[in-house]
Symmetry: C2
DNA sequence: GTTAGTGCAAACCTTTTGCAGCTCT
DNA sequence: AGAGCTGCAAAAGGTTTGCACTAAC
């Protein structure tokens, strides 16, 4: 079940909790991962085959506008779609490996500092923040280096090792 | 004219400096603002009416992959397109007013700290970072507050003030 | 019973691709 | 000369909209 938080928040505003919305809410904050609209649609269809893709988009828009979910790009790894996560946790940055797609989350004081400095320096009222960092995770750095060598030497290096 | 930097960098890699690319490069790092593909296309067409939108996209992709320009979303203010800027300056965050669309840039040590902590904490090799902050600028906070009052009271308040 | 919400089809916007012809180097 | 680049047309991907029907409150 979804945390009461989001549902209550919607109810308070007079938003109707339809069967479709309940399914989607449970998926969004039930799954630990970052889902995009299409994945959400596919999962929701398993629970209600009639549920339409458009309803997914409309629900996401509703939640986004209500400040209940955050929209991520994850550096467009995998396409130009958006990914979603509930706004339960503390502010955090997303670290995306551009080779394997793994996403890490970083919580820490640099983010608080940044927020405070922007508020005080510009007199800015912050509503949303998004920090995304793309690169290679510790595992992929090694593999990436190997790939570059193979490209430089053509296909020879991999064959050479066999002989 | 565009800074020699980008053109040289392309030449070194054996990329051809065509008439179209020169026009686009000059626009991208000539204008101080963040342009999207369509704006870039419109400006480029003034200099060469035959230049095609597709060439704009292909050039942007080339520059992006070469690490010469960075792609921004600016919190999707104004649509789902991307905005571009040359990677000349130091790393910085973009602060977008969601009411008037003004974009500010923030340079400061929280960003360096964040970078260092992510590198050391995850052993991550950072290639790109993007920090976007959305909210209301000091000017729009006031106007926004006024708008909310008007919505709450219906159209009355604005008329009431006249009497 | 009302009014908000849904499904369906169709449109929309941004970006990519296939291919024939052109142009930098 | 020849690979690389462009323009054109067409398609693709992701998301939104109009409208009649349905269901939550």
């Amino acid at each position: 079940m979804a945390q009461a938080g989001i549902k209550d928040s919607l109810r308070e505003r007079g938003v109707r909790l339809t069967r479709q919305r309940k399914i989607l809410l449970d998926l969004i904050d039930g799954s630990g991962v970052h889902l995009d609209a299409e994945q959400l649609y596919q999962l929701a269809k398993e629970k209600d085959p009639k549920l339409n893709r458009v309803t997914v988009y409309r629900t996401l828009k509703l939640l986004k506008q209500g400040g209940l979910v955050d929209e991520l790009d994850l550096m467009h790894y995998g396409g130009d779609q958006h990914y979603y996560e509930t706004r339960l946790k503390q502010e955090h940055a997303h670290i995306i490996c551009l080779r394997c797609g793994k996403v890490e989350e970083f919580f820490g004081e640099p983010l608080h500092r940044l927020r405070k400095q922007v508020e005080s320096h510009f007199g800015f009222q912050i509503l949303i923040t998004r920090t995304e960092i793309g690169g290679y995770c510790s595992h992929c750095q090694v593999l990436r280096a190997r790939e570059l060598v193979e490209v430089r030497d053509g296909d020879h290096s991999s064959r050479a090792r066999k002989s």
